[in-house]
């Protein structure tokens, strides 16, 4: 490290976590969970990013001569009642679902981390009040709460993201607060207080770097739930309005013909299942690296 007269003290918390992930990977700490989950998750992300370019057909094009067809070599997953290619619509729907799920998860993490760390740091009355408010938010059934929010704000992709973010923030808060409570009584926090640091410095520079692993793992778990909720919102018609392709909406609009041709309903459902399984496996794999509490067999540390 070079010092051109000035000492540069960087906050390298994010770097440390990335380093930890990389060193975990290098140490061959890779579980099958991480590999399978990673392939599925990044497969979906890849498809989502390049969606319009990887579809076999235009997702909105109606092939009137091929209505409600079963899978064939032209239409791999068949067509719906308007003759649109289901595979193409599932692929384009990936983009909507992932975009909504990812941004809402980030929003939930952002809110949850701020409330969780603040609550644990100040403790006392602040903690009690914040946590009871948190409990109130958590006592609403998720879908009903989403309907409330979207009912007030109106249905759109942005409002869907806000709704899901607000719904999952209290759950993130709980996890972050629990972990922060283990840290807040440690002596390096006391040392910072004795030094006379501002509360914000202590929360964000002393506590937060030690919370990153928890936050990342919690985020990966939340992402799975966010995908499910996005689909549910689409299904009850509170997701992005048509014609934006959305997995939930697809399943909803074709459900009347399910007994004639199951493909239009099954295809998006299977996509949801695979995406959620992928995300959860990936989260488990990350957990093994970041929050490893010794290996699973009882071994002594050497």
């Amino acid at each position: 490290m070079k010092y051109g007269g000035k000492s540069v003290v960087k906050n390298n918390s994010a770097q440390t976590v990335i380093k930890k992930i990389i060193s975990g990977l290098l140490k061959k700490n890779i579980t099958p969970n991480l590999i399978i989950g990673g392939i599925l998750l990044f497969g979906f992300v890849f498809i989502g990013i390049f969606a319009p370019h990887v579809t076999p057909h235009d997702a909105d094009e109606m092939h009137y001569e091929h209505l409600k067809e079963t899978p064939s070599t032209t239409f791999l997953l068949g067509t719906d009642r308007y003759g649109r290619d289901i595979l193409s619509r599932v692929i384009v729907g990936t983009r909507t679902t992932l975009l909504m799920a990812l941004t809402s998860t980030l929003l939930a993490l952002f809110l949850g981390v701020i409330v969780g760390t603040t609550s644990s740091f100040y403790g006392g009355v602040v903690d009690i009040v914040l946590m009871r408010i948190n409990d109130i938010f958590m006592s609403f059934p998720t879908l009903i709460f989403a309907m409330l929010v979207i009912g007030v704000l109106g249905p759109s992709m942005t409002n869907g993201i806000i709704a899901i973010g607000i719904i999952y923030a209290p759950r993130v808060t709980r996890v972050v607060r629990a972990q922060a409570l283990n840290i807040v009584h440690l002596e390096y926090i006391d040392a910072a207080k004795v030094r006379g640091e501002f509360s914000l410095y202590i929360i964000f520079r002393e506590m937060l770097p030690n919370l990153w692993p928890t936050i990342i793992v919690e985020g990966s778990i939340r992402l799975g739930y966010a995908i499910l909720l996005t689909a549910s919102l689409g299904y009850i018609g509170l997701g992005p309005p048509p014609p934006t392709p959305d997995w939930g909406l697809m399943a909803y609009s074709e459900r009347g013909y399910m007994f004639e041709t199951p493909w239009p309903v099954f295809a998006p459902c299977i996509a949801i299942v695979i995406a959620v399984i992928g995300v959860n496996l990936f989260g488990e794999g990350l957990k093994d690296i970041l929050l490893a509490k010794g290996s699973r067999t009882k071994e002594a540390k050497v």
Binding site: S7, V9, S13, T16, L186, Y188, G196, E299, A300
Partner: protein, 670 residues
Amino acid sequence: MTDPDPQVLSVQDVDITYYSGKVAFPAIRKVSFAISAGQAFGLAGESGSGKSTLAYAVMQYLAGNGEVSNGTISFGGTNLMTMSSTELLGLRGLKISMVPQDPLTSLNPSHRVGDQVSEILRIHCSLTRQEAHEKAVRMLEQVHLPVPELTALKYPHQISGGQQQRVLIAMAFCTNPELLIMDEPTTGLDVTTQARILDLIGEMKTTHKTAILYITHDLGVVKNLCDRVAIIYAGEIVEEGDVSSIFRRPAHPYTQGLLNCIPKTYSHEAEARFDTIEGFLPNLSELKPACIFSPRCRFAEEQCRRQVPLLMDIGNDRRIKCFFEKLPDNGKKEGTDERRTNVSDKDILIKVKNLKKVFPTRKGDLRAVDDTSFECRKGEILGIVGESGCGKTTMARCIVGLEEKSGGSISFSDKELDTIRKRSKDMRRKIQMVFQNSEATLNPQKTVEEIITRPLALYNVVPKSQLYQRAVELLESVNLGEQYLTRYPHEISGGEKQRVGIARAFATEPELIVLDEPISSLDVSVQAGILNLLLDLQKKHNIAYIFIGHNLSVIRRLCNRVMVLYMGRICEIGTPGQLFDPPYHPYTEALLSAIPVVEPDIGQREVRLGGAMPSAIDPIPGCAFHIRCPRKIGDVCVQNALPDIEVGPGHKITCHLSLDELSAVSPIFK
């Protein structure tokens, strides 16, 4: 026993290896010892020496990645290592018992303690429920638990730590085992409780004729309890023999070093500094064919670095692992006692008056610090001692401002101190703190450089351009080099972490540092180095320390004045010399008597405290100590407010006994 072999346990040439991936760590190498019936065998060593590994190997309960790769462990003539797991199951708990270190986690919190004792009897001795319960109550009586019938019905959290340890000892002895393994059974306990538990173990040993393998890091405990001792270093026994002869004339340089590291409790020697053992434990995965201790040995010669010494008999049933039967006498270091710098009475730095700290609980107010007054002068080292829960840490946290005081005043250079947030920036700079737990004192996500430069930058101690330079200077002042700057806390040892913590406290150029048991989480050989460092820095900067500790021997060597605290109140305050000789406060007397002394020629008068520290919630109008006091007069102690007795200049005892009565006791140390 009909077996002709008198040895209960015999460990022969045992090697134990741990595997981590493809790397093998030979944790124990060629260890042999034997214990006969009724004998207490001490296995003493520092952390990482492999002493607990050996205990688990004897129990055949090693961690999954460890194995006994060589040698035999036999119990009463049968080889334990060839036994099946069902045979072992019948042996463990019945013939071999173990008392673990942490009593609270070793007892099941959801079962009554009596049931936990009788369960063993039902399983191993096939007694009926009724018989087992009766026997369990008798066992609880034998370990001197109060009202055993009632205690048997209590849950672990309802009894004190010392009582929990007694229950575990009752569990270990209830099947009348032939071998008892004790893994630091008194480490988490207060000295006064430890003294009583050690008395109990000694008593049980003689009544039950049990062989005891006692594992500890505390040589003082070994001296008081054991018949034979083996000193273990980095997985090898370096010296073994009779306790009294080893403590009188340690032969191996490591034993000598270790004994020198421990501050003498009473011997009047003019020692300027604490002795240390330089260097670190070797990395066991890269062993060289040399004496394992040679890198740290002052006497090491060419031969030591080339050849592995064999265990050598030096007569008197003693063995050492060293090439030299007689080492050159290093001679006692010359030097005068420079510790007590002249402290002027006038320069009062911090004055605490009627300090009170109350924690409201559901049952009432818990008075952690109760109407305490004292002062600390410039350049003085003031020691605070007392058992856990006596309020010493709360007091420290009030002084640095981490806790808000409930009453009274703390003034620093005549300015009133409030909590940290309300203090001026300059005031915050002048008072710093060093913490107890070396593992938690540094933020694991920050490099040593970030940790040390932060206070420098926060208080503009030096211009920005000199931050790096200054950080290096600070590190060098705590005997660490520039190369430590880029390291993270998990890359350095416990002692080094504590040094960085000290450098961080000194960075702001404070006038007072509060040290909250800064050495209690470290090994003795490391402790000595930290204490020397603290003394050097104190002399160089002439700042004041408030040193909190529970080890009176350390306090005696380090401090100018000591105050003894019990339940948030001061019992006695004075210089260490005044404290260690009569007149004593009855509590000081008990504390002194409980110190496990290592010096061979010093006798100790026995004073033991009954009961446990009562809850600090119920108000006590009189003396807080009257419940346990062996010299209680009567109702005066319970009812009347306490008088301060001026014994000598600066020596104060708070007791109802008159000065003549207090002086009329024989000294604790002879």
